[in-house]
């Protein structure tokens, strides 16, 4: 009777065949094999998804971004530790030592905040920061960052291409360059007024550089809003140029016909050119740019790693400079 009742549709349960603790252990083991294998092969990828949960040391407001589909926007390299990204900064408004910004930038008021977009555009406008945050979907971009001083980091930024903003204000035919002006508030920025640089800190790009999809209008890093010392609430990130080209805490974007003056170019014309593209074959007048030290990764006794042309973004941005003498336009 028993055989007739069971026509292949009724199966014994796994739990009746194998003792419960044994099959649980077996599943655990399989899971461990699977994650172990994945962990070895895909540690980088796994880690990249994980930092939104793990690396939010300061518990700033979350600012998630979708993985960017733009070519070159997501490097596979290991991101620099959050503590180093936010504790080793050049932001002279808050002091010239690397740990000064982290110590002093707490005074910066990031709300209310506006960016005035003006000059050679059909639709000039003062954007409120809340409006900018919603202007275009946030993307996560993992960029190399090469400082002109010879060190580098890998930073997971959050933002969107500056071109999204530029398209909305419709530059006129006279707009050849874009100028970025940053906050210079002596009340909250203790070193504004020091003679290091002309304030406000000014930077600039050619319009085609500014339109390049890798030029990132940046609002966050490591899945959170920008810490003050990294240029909150909004800054530029230009991964193929030396770090100082990426203006922090921007309050004005101006479209102009003539090449705008930039802060470091005014301070030392022969040392910091308008373009300041990362270029291992054009040395800074006072030091070599052929190599760099990756913060937190290269051991102190390790040889410095070679610096790449356009910081490794030559495939993406090289055509912007086709035919230009990069020794002359440094």
């Amino acid at each position: 009777m028993h055989l007739l009742e069971n026509r292949g549709f009724v199966h014994p349960r796994a739990s009746e065949i194998t003792p419960r603790n044994a099959y649980l252990r077996r599943r655990e083991l399989l899971a461990r094999f699977a994650t172990g294998a994945a962990g070895v092969a895909l540690a980088g990828w796994a880690g990249r998804d994980a930092w939104a949960q793990t690396a939010r040391a300061n518990k700033l407001a979350a600012l998630p971004g979708a993985r960017s589909p733009i070519p070159g926007a997501v490097t596979m390299e290991k991101p620099t530790a959050y503590a180093d990204v936010t504790g080793y900064n050049n932001f002279y408004e808050f002091g010239t030592d690397k740990d000064d910004p982290a110590k002093n930038a707490h005074t910066l008021k990031t709300r209310p905040w506006t960016i005035a977009v003006e000059g050679e555009v059909k639709k000039p406008k003062v954007f409120d920061i809340e409006e900018l945050l919603k202007l275009s979907p946030m993307e996560e971009r993992i960029y190399r960052m090469r400082c002109v001083e010879g060190w580098s980091m890998v930073i997971p930024w959050v933002g969107y291409s500056l071109s999204e903003l530029i398209k909305r204000v419709e530059p006129t035919g006279n707009a050849k360059y874009v100028e970025f002006l940053t906050l210079a508030d002596p009340k909250t920025m203790p070193f504004v007024g020091s003679r290091v640089l002309d304030w406000p800190y000014a930077e600039g790009l050619r319009l085609d550089e500014a339109m390049h999809p890798l030029a990132l209008l940046t609002f966050g890093l490591y899945g959170e809003v920008l810490p003050n010392q990294n240029g909150a609430p909004v800054r530029m990130v230009l991964p193929w140029k030396y770090g100082f080209k990426s203006a922090k805490s921007i309050v004005k974007i101006r479209f102009v016909e003539k090449e705008p003056g930039t802060a470091w170019n005014k301070a030392a014309r022969n040392e910091y050119g308008f373009y300041s593209n990362v270029n291992p074959s054009v040395d800074h007048p006072r030091w070599s740019q052929a190599t760099e030290r990756r913060i937190g990764e290269d051991g102190i006794f390790a040889k410095k790693r070679p610096t790449l042309m356009f910081n490794g973004y030559e495939a993406q941005v090289g055509q912007l400079y086709a035919g230009m003498d990069l020794k002359k336009f440094y």
Partner: protein, 233 residues
């Protein structure tokens, strides 16, 4: 002039006072020696621990090591140059006992500074070091300061003083004033990139005071001539 200049065992007021004066105790020198080594020990610990992934020297340990060893060279240089003025201002002749050790520690920290630079920054590649020294004026100035210090360190022992003769030895060791000026220029040039001269100004003021005091109190030209003519063999 006496030919046996013994900088080491300087006993100003007779042996009887040494028991009560801490500067003349036999232990004073070893204690100072260990104190002078403390910054080095701390930086060495930092270097080793950061090589093993424990970060005690900040985000850029190489830069921290190069800068800290440079800072300590400059500090020891100031301390060394301060021995003679302080000895006279505070009437502590026994301080002279420590001048040689402090001078040698200046040279020691200068060597460690150069080693850190040539190792951590230049990867110990000889050609790169030479090219870098030629390329960067402030590195050239720093290297010149170290090279100028070298003969002073090499002639710091008593027999060298005796062999050279006191006058020539003193004349040679006046090169330390040039070292001080080169060192402050080296530091100034390094900081010039960021127009950040606050710290440079402090060291420049200290060195200016110590060298200025020497110019102020030097013997009158006529007296100097008689001294130098009498000491020429």
């Amino acid at each position: 002039m006496s030919t046996s200049v013994r900088v080491d065992e300087f006993s100003p007021n007779g042996a009887g006072t040494s028991r009560r004066k801490p500067l003349l105790r036999p232990l004073a020198k070893p204690v100072l020696f260990i104190a002078c080594l403390l910054p080095f020990a701390w930086l060495l610990y930092g270097a080793i621990s950061s090589a093993y992934g424990v970060n005690t020297l900040g985000a850029n340990p190489a830069e921290t090591l190069i800068r800290a060893t440079g800072d300590w060279t400059l500090r020891f240089l100031c301390i060394t140059l301060a021995v003679t003025p302080v000895r006279q201002w505070f009437k502590q002749p026994a301080l002279a006992r420590f001048r040689r050790m402090l001078g040698l520690f200046t040279f020691f920290y200068g060597c460690v500074h150069f080693l850190c630079y040539s190792w951590l920054d230049m990867g110990l590649v000889f050609d790169d070091i030479v090219r870098d020294i030629a390329k960067r004026p402030f590195i050239l100035v720093g290297t010149t300061a170290l090279l100028t210090m070298t003969p002073l360190a090499l002639t710091s022992f008593n027999r060298a003083i005796k062999a050279l003769g006191a006058a020539r030895w003193l004349a040679l060791h006046r090169a330390v004033y040039a070292v001080a000026l080169l060192a402050i220029l080296h530091f100034f040039w390094m900081r010039a990139a960021k127009h950040n001269f606050a710290e440079v100004a402090v060291y420049a003021a200290v060195i200016g005071l110590l060298l200025g005091w020497r110019v102020w109190t030097r013997p009158q030209p006529s007296a100097q001539r008689t001294v130098s003519s009498s000491s020429t063999p």
